[in-house]
């Protein structure tokens, strides 16, 4: 397998939701796993309670992606972060996908009330920072959006 091909696989993982990739051919095989996945049998709340910390609590001064400054969508409330309306629905947005200003990108549930999270900008989602069903605190970064127009 050539370095170029491995690079292509890495790009694929980086720019999408893919967590694990296994590729096999006649002469080679490769297995790649995303480094920041904490696979767990426990529910997100249980895990978070055990760790005693909400993910994404460490502060970033200016969010960056590939050397570019990106816009953060921050949580407006405290609650549980959901990527879709329900488990029967597909996620509202995907990494790499485009969004327009005012578009619904997530739902946060607090005290049985669902609150829409809307994108304040137009651009491309370069990173989704919170896993589905995980708790979030006020001001926590949820999405990184690249607002720069492609040249």
């Amino acid at each position: 397998m050539q370095t170029e091909e491995i690079k292509k696989f890495l790009e694929l993982i980086k720019n999408t939701d893919i967590e694990e990739l296994f590729w096999e051919s006649n002469d080679s095989k490769i297995s790649l796993k995303r480094a920041d996945v904490t696979a767990s049998q426990q529910s997100p709340q249980q895990e978070q309670q055990k760790n005693g910390q909400i993910e994404g609590q460490k502060k970033q001064d200016t969010p960056m992606f590939n050397g570019k400054t990106v816009t953060s969508i921050k949580s407006p409330i405290v609650g549980i972060f959901y990527r879709a309306e329900s488990s029967d629905h597909p996620p509202l947005v995907m990494e790499g996908g485009k969004v327009i200003s005012g578009q619904r990108v997530a739902i946060i549930e607090a005290m049985k009330i669902m609150r829409d999270v809307l994108s304040p900008v137009k651009g491309k989602i370069v990173k989704i920072l919170v896993e589905n069903g995980h708790p979030v605190q006020y001001g926590q970064d949820l999405f990184h959006i690249d607002t720069e127009e492609p040249k």
Partner: protein, 449 residues
């Protein structure tokens, strides 16, 4: 016992509650605004959740975010501290609906004592002496008002029913200014508390402010602790408190303590709270108000009686039984507390937030510091200016005065201004030394404020 308590507060009281939880083996959740990310209570708690931007209305008063923080962390109880949501019946009600234990009395007790007019009426009915005055809200155009005011006898004070902590009051010395004073008081009350109801009380001249800590379980047992004297005030804000009071003997203590218990029982009060009285020069005392929360000055009682009121409050909220009577509570010497605020006492107490460049806290025998400040901490401008409480205990009042003078001298802080200079003056003053001081002490002897 509760497994995890969320502390819906900040500053020194949040630190205090976390300490009590640590000793009881209870996990803690701190909530904080964006301005309090580096706060001590956040560092000390097992978990922390950011609940909003700096302004209190969006964070420490943000009920949905606080309840949500409790839900997502699995907290089974919330301790509201003092101020903020501590006496908010809506918050207590929401906690109940969400099956989270509110560590404090019932929402009914909070509501009854929170409405000052209703509380006065209740006390009057229970045969408890109240400050002479009205027990109904005033109507500005009521022709009877001048007559009522005259009967009570000038000078009088107009107070807001939803007020408390010394806020929303106006003194009236003669009938000429009565109507204007009522109108202004109503407008101010509406703006500050959302409720324009006001009532009249006789202004007791040269009073002493004596309060009784009480503790009550849900089985009907209520006890009183030896009194705290909180007479040294500036613009109705307490600056120095002591326990026991230099003017209260055992007989008066028993008499007032029993009345305090009666007052608490009349609203089926549980956990801890404080009944405030006014003591006049003749030795007559009157119910002023009840504070249905843990108070700022609780450490004075803790030092004098060698008890832990915050642990007790949590245990009582856990439906435990009180294991002692009022008579069992001993008095161990004498204690004094100074509330240190980040204010410039030479510039009319201008708030002095900012970075603490260096800090050395007092220590040694009989000295306790309850604080959230640390070397390098930046005091934010958005909240209450209380930054530390210096509490001392001595074998007698004279020793505790000497001890407090020493402690204030040892307290070294640079980068911000504090009220230490004025408290130093108070503790040096021979009127304070004699114990023969009234609520006008600071105005009369220290400052012309």
């Amino acid at each position: 016992m509760f497994k995890k308590i969320l502390i819906a507060n900040r500053g020194e009281i949040a630190v205090r509650i976390i300490r009590a939880c640590n000793e009881l083996g209870i996990k803690t959740v701190a909530v904080h605004s964006e301005a309090d990310t580096d706060a001590l209570h956040v560092k000390m708690a097992d978990e922390s959740i950011c609940i909003g931007p700096a302004p209190a209305t969006d964070s420490y008063l943000n009920v949905p975010n606080i309840i949500s923080a409790a839900t997502i962390t699995g907290a089974d109880a919330i301790h509201p501290g003092y101020g903020f949501l501590a006496e908010n019946t809506y918050f207590a009600d929401v906690c109940e609906s969400c099956k989270i234990k509110f560590i404090g009395p019932s929402k009914e007790a909070i509501q009854k004592m929170g409405d000052k007019i209703q509380a006065r009426k209740l006390m009057e009915k229970a045969g408890i002496p109240i400050v002479p005055g009205t027990t109904e809200p005033l109507k500005l155009d009521d022709p009877e008002i001048p007559k009522i005011a005259k009967k009570i006898g000038y000078p009088i004070i107009i107070k807001a029913t939803a007020g408390g902590g010394g806020k929303g009051m106006r003194i009236v010395t003669s009938e000429e200014t009565l109507k204007m004073a009522i109108s202004t008081a109503q407008t101010e009350a509406k703006a500050a508390f959302g409720n324009d109801q006001v009532y009249i009380e006789k202004l007791i001249e040269e009073p002493k402010h004596i309060e009784f800590q009480i503790a009550a379980d849900k089985f009907g047992n209520t006890v009183y602790f030896p009194e705290r004297e909180c007479t040294v005030q500036r613009k109705h804000q307490k600056m120095v408190e002591e326990s026991p009071s230099p003017v209260i003997d055992n007989n008066l203590r028993k008499k007032m303590g029993r009345i305090a218990v009666k007052a608490a029982k009349s609203v089926n009060y549980t956990t801890v709270g404080t009944i405030e009285f006014i003591l006049d020069k003749k030795g007559d005392f009157f119910f002023l108000e009840m504070n249905t929360r843990i108070q700022v000055e609780h450490p004075v009682t803790e030092m004098t009686t060698q008890t832990d009121l915050v642990k007790e409050m949590i245990k009582l909220a856990n439906d435990e039984k009180l294991k002692y009577d009022s008579e069992d509570i001993g008095i161990f010497g004498h204690s004094i507390e100074c509330r240190i605020n980040a204010e410039d006492s030479e510039k009319d107490f201008l708030p002095s937030p900012g970075k603490i460049e260096s800090l050395v806290l007092p220590g040694g025998p009989g000295v306790r510091i309850d604080t959230h400040i640390y070397d390098g901490y930046t005091v934010p401008p958005y909240y209450d200016s209380l930054i530390a409480k210096v509490i001392v205990n001595g074998r007698n009042r004279q020793e505790s005065i000497i001890r407090m003078r020493r402690a204030l001298k040892e307290f070294r802080i640079s980068g911000i201004k504090t009220t230490i200079p004025i408290q130093t003056k108070i503790l040096q003053h021979d009127v304070f030394q004699k114990g023969d001081y009234y609520t006008n002490f600071i105005v009369k002897h220290i400052y012309g404020v």
